[in-house]
Symmetry: C2
């Protein structure tokens, strides 16, 4: 079924490109709609293109247990990221219905329209619309690289015209997301399941070192204000401090740009990003504060100027303790080894978490590879995840 | 006169843009031709656009003493780079002629058509054509950024059609180039004149560190193969080694590019340039050899791959000892302080040096600034340079 869904938007390199409101995206949602219908679910879209399949609870005026993940992918991404959570939800609902009939509470599987932000500069559009964090105003002025507006793309897909129900929900009891880890921890530790306690917080900074651009041949070493040299010292320090500070903290310099970036000119300016993540905001803050003090003294020692700009500040998100406990009970009873862990990546769960009880569950990613055609999870691991989901939904809804 | 010549191709920022075979370049050469005629020189172009003004020697079948520099500039460059050497030569020839009449040997001033390589990927086109190192075959397939071919640009300027004499010369006795230092050494040491002993050799390398691109959130620090981290360690080492090795050695990382260069992805690949210069080739070679051994062990320690590619290897060029001695005698006699020094930048002199006795003489550059509208040399320093040139030409030709 992973292969089947992966065929919508299959790329030349055997990956998947299924961007929001593209033809491939539309075909995939339509195919899922058909399949949900076939297994006996009540199926409907909302007006941003989220697709739901529902087992209606037998209790009157009851709340809804929602499970699922996102259907969009990055360009040339994998078959599992997002898709696995949607497929797992459908299989779970089918199994529960066929085995136990209708639940007491409503259970719904959702194929969220968008999470990756890979077409428009907008992430979590699906989950954000359901939880009311995102509204139509947020996308009013967005365009993609082909200069197609968000609104036009949405309307061309048949959404955003009031034909379907409004996305904001008030009946959600909890949200359960099954996802691939996108890291290598579970595989290395031979754990088939990860029970996520937190999604880490992340702060991103732009660091600019301003030195003096000069001739590479006529400027003696002692007189230089070499922005690249100073920047390389800061990067060395950052990574060393990150390694020694806390085993769960990660810090990355993913982007660096020099000016003028010419082989025979001493760089006058070096700009680089710093991405720092941890599940405890205080750890990030203390680490950054201490680090940037050291940055400043290095810059001062080389008589270069330093600018530090914080441009992203995502708070850590705690998953629901009660749902974690239920998962742990199920796993212990079934003798499935698991790891309670933080998620280093962002997920739709972080939009749901402040809104309703939320649980994020991982299966291993082979070699940690994700956002790549080489994304892979073994079938037995996929199955273990679905079995856990089934039992968890049963506990909550029957 | 510097201001007058600088008016041809004057840029908005009060700099000069006078690229090879441009309208500005053509106007400047035509204006120089007129001025050379006016001061009584025999004036002629060669077929690549080098402009010569000649005082014909009284001896029969005598050789020629050539002085001058280049007329082309980088984009938004300064008024002094190249131009000073041309102007100084004209003033010197005028003074010598008016004071002493015709010399025994021929003396010529040359306004070389091109040195900078800032329009086409070709440097030293003027001096290279005179010395036979460059020929028409070398420029046959070159185009500029506007896709105009070298040949077409040359022909549109009236050259390259056999209308003028062939550029290759066999009558040159020596070449004397007066130039701004383009560095800060003379100013800092309060020396009005630099007598150049060598033009340094330079080797340029492209260093590639290949690590593993991975998710910045889900990959623990201990498992990373971070190409940026490893590269920053190599850069730190390079600069530290350069500082401690030899006070005359300079090493520069001017260019660095990451892949994929995205804030939330650990760089899988870092490519950077290394530019190493010294007047002794052995010093460069020993330094590089030792350094790259250390590079390799750092890369190995982080289990990253390392590629080292040498893409430029310019040998050091020695200036003529005898001409240096004559300059030193003149300066000592006139009680002008001077510094015998290496040139960290390349000059037309390095094309002439293997071909005929060659001397390169510097005047100070304020703050070492060059290739910039802020290029500046004090009038009294310009004058000291011209006085030295006059006396040197007198020694050689009268």
């Amino acid at each position: 079924m992973v292969e089947w869904l992966g065929s919508f938007g299959k790329s030349k390199s055997n990956g998947v490109t299924r961007q929001l409101y593209s033809t491939e995206w539309r075909c995939a949602q339509k195919a899922l709609e058909k399949r949900m219908n076939k297994i006996g679910l009540d199926v409907y879209f909302d007006d941003v293109g989220n697709l739901f399949g529902r087992l209606t609870g037998s209790r009157e005026n009851t709340t809804t247990i929602l499970t699922g993940s996102h259907i969009d992918t990055v360009i040339d991404g994998g078959k599992y990221d997002g898709a696995y959570g949607v497929i797992a939800g459908m299989i779970a609902l089918q199994y529960l219905y066929e085995t136990y009939g209708l639940p007491k509470k409503n259970i719904e599987v959702v194929s969220l329209c968008e999470e990756e932000g890979s077409r428009f500069p907008m992430t979590y559009w699906g989950s954000g619309s359901i939880t009311g964090v995102r509204t139509i105003e947020d996308v009013q002025n967005l365009v993609d690289l082909q200069n197609i507006s968000f609104i036009k793309a949405m309307q061309d897909s048949g959404f955003g015209q009031g034909k379907y129900r409004q996305p904001k929900r008030n009946d959600l009891d909890c949200f359960i997301e099954l996802h691939i880890e996108q890291g290598e921890v579970l595989e290395r530790e031979a754990m088939p399941i990860g029970v996520v306690s937190h999604i880490v917080g992340q702060k991103r900074y732009e660091i600019t070192v301003i030195g003096e651009s000069n001739h590479a041949g006529t400027t003696p070493m002692a007189w230089r204000k070499d922005a690249m040299y100073v920047a390389s010292g800061l990067i060395q320090l950052l990574i060393q401090r990150a390694k020694e500070t806390n085993s769960d903290l990660v810090a990355t310099v993913g982007q660096l740009n020099l000016e003028p970036n010419i082989a025979n000119v001493i760089p006058g300016k070096a700009t680089f990003t710093v991405d720092i993540r941890h599940s405890d905001e205080d750890v990030i803050d203390q680490f950054s504060k201490k680090l940037f003090k050291e940055f400043q003294s290095i810059a001062d020692r080389h008589t270069t100027d330093l600018k530090i700009k914080n441009w992203m500040d995502e708070k850590p998100t705690k998953m629901c303790e009660k749902l974690i406990e239920i998962s742990e009970l199920i796993l212990t009873k079934d003798q499935i080894p698991y790891k309670k862990m933080a998620s280093g990546a962002g997920h739709d769960s972080q939009m749901f978490s402040p809104f309703c009880a939320t649980s994020l569950l991982f299966v291993p990613s082979h070699k940690g590879i994700s956002h790549s055609p080489h994304e892979f999870t073994r079938t037995e691991d996929l199955e273990k995840g679905i079995r856990l989901l089934i039992k968890l939904l049963y506990e909550l809804a029957y």
